[in-house]
């Protein structure tokens, strides 16, 4: 919220150098791209839902694989929308329902002994909803007999106000499809057998409840994406918040989103912390080993928003007025520098993608202890993101916006190297 106040304070200083139509056009196109990206997220989530229903009907390895492929496809557009998360309050308040991370997966289902049995942070660390029709915690009893959408979203998600109690969203589904990745920082992702969803040859226990959980949480994902897509449609609240406010402040909102995702969230929480902890679970898609793509498409989303260009899942390309052109009008060098920095980040992310896809060295192996070269590859991307953040700050200054406070990260703020 602090960010918006800072921006509003800047309005008085705004020079009338810009034609208002240009700013409005940029904002309109920004909202149009948001609508397209969330709609693509919805379409791919619906495909995932279909695949999950098929898995529930016929729990074969082939159908499980099919669902996994659909999950990975659904991540492609969704990760690109993350460029909208910070700055747009409606998105930021909502996103925890679909992409909360990291999670204490013991809340949901069975876990390996190495996961441990208790946490200083979370009394529900090993609650295991799938196995228990009643949860007794802190003297309170919760009836979990029927695993419904309402139970998951209204009662269990972030229960006891613990953020890692993630009962819904992409990562809950990911855990249900893959299971825990028990390979540590060695090769391999989670290996849940399809029989975990079978009533006839049930493994892992309580298969009917696991199926019910998976169906309910996937349906919820579709519902939520439907809702957020409508927020960006004509007349939607997210679009209105942007268009009805002061144009200059709204342009600031766009850049806040790009800076905060680059800096605190991606470079800090999702990447540098993992290198410091060398922990295989400190990767964004830790069950599926899909993290390289998640990071890549975050970086892509930043590029889309800055340059006003997005290639839809259907292959259609949308392009239009962008913040980039506003910056270029004021100072072409600043714009070029930032576009170069964004390309550098994408190139560094491509290195992580190639490592996983071509060399079979997944992201969790790159952050492993003793993998100096792998650690360096991840840190190269972190440093590119930090440099890009500086470029975004220059763009903010060039547009005469008040300084924006980007989301920081405890592991990142090191203004001076020794």
């Amino acid at each position: 919220m602090k960010k918006f106040i800072a921006l509003l304070a800047g309005i008085a200083l705004s020079t009338s150098g810009w034609a208002k139509t240009t700013e409005k056009a940029v904002l309109t196109h920004y909202a149009d791209l948001a609508h397209a990206m969330y709609q693509d997220s919805l379409i791919t989530a619906q495909a995932l839902h279909k695949a999950v229903k098929q898995l529930a009907a016929q729990p074969t390895e082939a159908n499980l694989n099919h669902a996994k492929v659909a999950w990975k496809a659904a991540r492609v557009p969704y990760q690109q929308t993350e460029a909208y998360r910070f700055g747009n309050a409606i998105v930021d308040d909502w996103e925890g329902k679909v992409n909360a991370w990291p999670l204490d997966e013991g809340l949901i289902d069975y876990v390996d002994g190495s996961y441990g049995s208790e946490s200083d942070e979370n009394p529900y660390y090993t609650a295991n909803i799938v196995a228990n029709e009643k949860l007794m915690i802190g003297g309170q009893s919760i009836d979990t007999g029927n695993i419904t959408k309402a139970l998951l979203s209204d009662t269990l998600h972030e229960i006891d106000e613990v953020e890692s109690n993630v009962a819904t969203g992409y990562h809950a589904i990911e855990f249900l499809l893959w299971g825990q990745d028990l390979n540590g920082t060695q090769a391999g992702a989670g290996k849940r057998p399809a029989s975990d969803f079978s009533n006839e040859n049930c493994t892992g226990g309580h298969c009917d409840r696991r199926v019910a959980y998976l169906l309910a949480t996937t349906e919820l994902l579709v519902d939520e994406l439907n809702w957020i897509t409508s927020q960006w449609a004509k007349g939607g609240d997210a679009r209105k918040a942007l268009m009805d406010g002061d144009s200059k402040a709204s342009i600031g909102t766009i850049l806040t989103g790009l800076g905060s995702l680059s800096y605190g969230e991606l470079a800090g929480e999702r990447m540098k912390l993992g290198v410091m902890l060398h922990d295989p679970e400190e990767e964004h898609d830790c069950f599926s080993d899909n993290t390289h793509w998640s990071h890549y498409y975050d970086a892509m989303g930043i590029k889309n928003v800055y340059t006003g260009r997005y290639t839809r899942v259907s292959g259609e390309t949308l392009s239009g007025p962008s913040v980039s052109s506003l910056v270029a009008k004021k100072d072409a060098k600043v714009d070029q520098a930032l576009r170069d920095q964004i390309e550098t980040t994408l190139a560094k992310m491509q290195v992580l993608v190639d490592s996983a896809e071509k060399d079979n060295v997944a992201y969790d192996q790159l952050i492993a202890e003793g993998n100096t070269a792998g650690n360096a590859k991840v840190m190269d991307a972190v440093n590119a993101l930090v440099a890009q953040t500086k470029g975004i700050e220059s763009a903010v200054a060039t547009l005469g916006l008040n300084p924006i406070e980007f989301e920081g990260s405890d592991s990142l703020d090191a203004p001076h190297k020794v």
Binding site: D120, L277, G370, F406, D410, D413, P415
Partner: protein, 361 residues
């Protein structure tokens, strides 16, 4: 009565503070460079030297315990752990300079551990019994969560103590090898920090004090002063949000820092003393006779008084008890102080606060 012990320790090591602030206020408006120099020489270096002394004693006590396995050597070891924590808490607010190199800050302590990573990694390491992983060079490269004071606390203050876990003098177990590795690692880091500040090729102290347009490191002395301001503001936010608010919300006291060693409030007490000193030496001389200066000093005193009024360790306090009320008072005082230091102080000093390391939460 831990506070009494702490107060005595403070008086011993930092007794010159009142003299310093007095002499500083005789000269009206000293320049930033002289203040920065005072901060380094009178605040930062003595504290790192104390940390160096205490971590060396910790390493020695660990060695002694692992060769003479008695209740008494174990208690001695725990006492040196407490001393080391005292000296770390007295410099925890500095995230600037050599402590940033090679992830040292996080290797001392990574907390809060929201994803329970420390517990899990420690269990795996103990289970592995891999001695190679404890070799100094490799250990320094391992996860920050197994290297530092939080990991050591888990090993020395378990819920149920079993000295047998540490093996015997003839055959020390992996537990013993691990606490030795942690203690030595902490001692090495602490020595390296003192060296980096004072005697390396270009001592960090020199780099800071030669700030200016020609310097590759820092463009101005004012920029350095902003670091002190940021240290104070960030630490106050850590105290308010992480050390008090998180555990008090829903009274989940295992979320408190150092709950196992029952020193959560002592930590805050030492933090407040430390940043009050940093403020007095480095920033206050720029606000002679400013009412804000008075307000800040009073707010510091108030918070410290409130915390001194509570003798029960935070973890042992019951919900809705009179002690819990006192905790609320400490939180309110800390919040007031945070508000003064974060919103009014920067403007009064003409310094900008810069990025805040907690915004990501």
């Amino acid at each position: 009565m831990l506070h009494k012990r702490l107060v005595q320790r403070l008086l011993q090591s930092l007794g010159f503070l009142s003299v310093l602030t007095f002499t500083a206020s005789v000269h009206a408006e000293p320049n930033w460079k002289s203040l920065n120099q005072a901060v380094i020489d009178q605040h930062i270096l003595p504290r790192y030297q104390q940390l160096q002394t205490d971590t060396q004693a910790l390493a020695q006590a660990t060695t002694l315990f692992c060769t003479q396995h008695t209740r008494s050597t174990f208690d001695q070891l725990k006492a040196t752990y407490q001393h080391t924590m005292d000296s770390w808490m007295a410099i925890q607010h500095i995230r600037f300079g050599p402590v940033e190199a090679s992830l040292r800050y996080y290797r001392y302590q990574i907390w809060p551990d929201k994803h329970n990573t420390g517990t899990k990694q420690l269990q795996r390491l103990l289970k592995s019994e891999d001695l190679k992983r404890l070799e100094p060079k490799q250990f320094a490269q391992s996860s920050v969560a197994v290297q530092g004071l939080t990991a050591l606390e888990r090993l020395l203050f378990p819920t149920a103590l079993d000295l047998g876990q540490f093996g015997s003098p003839q055959a020390p177990s992996y537990h013993c090898e691990l606490i030795l590795a942690i203690a030595r690692n902490l001692a090495l880091m602490s020595s390296a920090i003192v060296t980096d500040w004072t005697v390396s090729e270009v001592p960090y102290r020199t780099r800071v004090l030669t700030a200016g347009p020609e310097s590759d490191d820092f463009t101005s002395h004012r920029e350095i002063a902003s670091q002190w301001l940021n240290s104070i503001s960030t630490q106050l936010q850590v105290i308010t949000e992480q050390k008090l608010l998180r555990p008090l919300k829903r009274f989940r006291l295992k979320r408190a820092e150092s709950w196992r060693s029952r020193r959560s409030l002592d930590n805050i007490f030492l933090n407040l003393h430390a940043i009050r000193e940093l403020y007095a030496i480095g920033l206050a001389p720029k606000l002679p006779e400013d009412p804000l200066d008075n307000a800040i000093k009073k707010a510091f005193d108030q918070a410290i008084t409130s915390i001194t009024a509570l003798d029960t360790p935070l973890y042992d306090i019951k919900q809705d008890s009179p002690e819990a009320k006192k905790l609320e008072k400490i939180l309110a005082d800390a919040r007031q102080l945070t508000a003064l230091a974060s919103s009014e102080l920067p403007q009064a000093l003409g310094l900008s606060l810069g990025f805040n390391s907690l915004d990501g939460d």
